[in-house]
């Protein structure tokens, strides 16, 4: 299993479930050392607000979900939301 695979799957699943245009969603995994990954999330412009949410609540929830996924793999993960 590739490192960050569960993180990627979870982030991809959650973000696509939230947005209006799931086909425009990309999740790119970036290695940040031996035990850390960053999931870079890009969405259609109009969807970014929804993914971040009021006061960043949804973004925070996505990060927590990714954190739980990382824990399953014994690593840590962060999620970045990019325009």
């Amino acid at each position: 299993m590739a490192k960050g695979e569960i993180v990627e799957r979870v982030v991809d699943y959650v973000v696509k479930a939230i947005v209006e245009e799931p086909e425009a969603v990309t999740v790119t995994m970036v290695d940040q050392g031996p035990n850390e990954v960053v999931a870079e999330v890009r969405t259609a412009k109009a969807d970014m607000g929804r993914v971040i949410g009021r006061r960043g609540r949804v973004a925070k929830a996505i990060r927590a979900a990714a954190g739980a996924a990382a824990e399953e793999e014994g690593i840590t993960a962060d999620v970045e939301f990019l325009d």
């Binding site: 569960i6 979870v10 947005v19 929830a61 927590a64 979900a65 824990e71």
Partner: protein, 302 residues
């Protein structure tokens, strides 16, 4: 007492208003009416000061139909909370829409001034429960875990239970992952429906265990208060946890409870009933804090 009006106590008027807006789910200060009940006073070296108390009302133009509905239901707590929650949630969320619509209500003719119309349908409870279940099932699978998801409807609230030994991984420290998954599930529902029901989500029995433990804890404190009198300030808690404490207090004689401070540092105070008239204001605050607080979190923590 209107359900969209709450009283909040804080160090300053601004802080109190901010906290109240958060509880009401309002982002724009223009959408609230503020009445300062108590001006704050600085104490000496931090002693003897007085917090500000404000009464904040959510102004909702053209909400009359809802208001009537709220009054009619005003003592049927769960349904009025549901009502409140859907309003506060929607008002914060659909700013382009301007206001929320209740279930099954005709939405035409309310739009008018906004550039973007909300083309999401109003989805029935059963359908919302199905959407929640499918999302959660897919999520458990994305984690590569084994588990089952059951949903039911309890008095206008969608109840979702994720079960299975492995789903313990989705609880997190003090339920933090569970609350995040709750937030995400709600967001998914909002994507499909203009008006969404409250959602109660439990994972691996965590919320139920937490509720039981908190009730036992509250009962012990209440025992202490009924014999010794006085007040006990609890540690800051989520709205759902505060609700458990309020419920425990409400079930017992001789003790009242109310919330103070601002989320996420909002906490419950349990107080032996002194029978003095001073307590009236606090009791009212407690009722409101409980309703609105829980509603705001949408059972987000439930």
């Amino acid at each position: 007492m209107s359900y969209v009006e709450i009283e909040v106590r804080a160090k300053s008027v601004d802080l109190a208003v901010e906290a109240a807006m958060q509880e009401l789910g309002v982002e724009d200060r223009e959408h609230v009416a503020v009445e300062v009940l108590v001006e704050p006073e600085k104490g000496f070296l931090g002693f003897g000061g007085q917090d500000a108390v404000v009464r904040v009302k959510h102004r909702k133009p053209r909400k009359r139909r809802n208001d009537r509905r709220r009054k009619a239901q005003s003592r049927s707590r769960s349904s009025s909370k549901q009502q409140d929650r859907s309003q506060s949630g929607n008002n914060g969320r659909n700013r382009n829409q301007g206001r929320s619509q209740g279930k099954g209500r005709d939405v035409s003719g309310q739009q008018g001034d906004q550039p973007k119309t909300d083309d999401r349908p109003i989805v029935g409870l059963e359908e919302q429960a199905r959407i929640a279940r499918e999302f959660l099932e897919g999520l458990v699978a994305a984690y590569g875990l084994e588990g089952t998801v059951e949903t039911s409807i309890d008095d206008d609230v969608i109840v979702a239970n994720v079960n299975g030994e492995q789903t313990e991984a989705l609880v997190g420290v003090r339920g933090s992952v569970r609350s995040s998954i709750h937030e995400l599930t709600r967001t998914v529902l909002q994507r499909y429906s203009q008006d969404t029901a409250r959602l109660r989500l439990d994972i691996a029995g965590y919320a139920e265990r937490r509720r039981q433990a908190l009730t036992i804890y509250a009962d012990q404190l209440i025992d202490q208060l009924t014999s010794d009198g006085g007040e006990i300030m609890l540690e800051p808690m989520s709205a759902a946890d505060r609700k458990v404490i309020h419920d425990a207090a409400a079930a017992r004689d001789g003790v009242t409870s109310y919330s103070e401070g601002e989320a996420p540092r909002r906490y419950v105070v349990l107080a032996a009933e002194a029978g003095s008239s001073e307590d009236v204001g606090n009791a009212e605050d407690a009722g409101n804090a409980e309703d609105v607080g829980e509603a705001e979190d949408a059972g987000e923590e439930e």
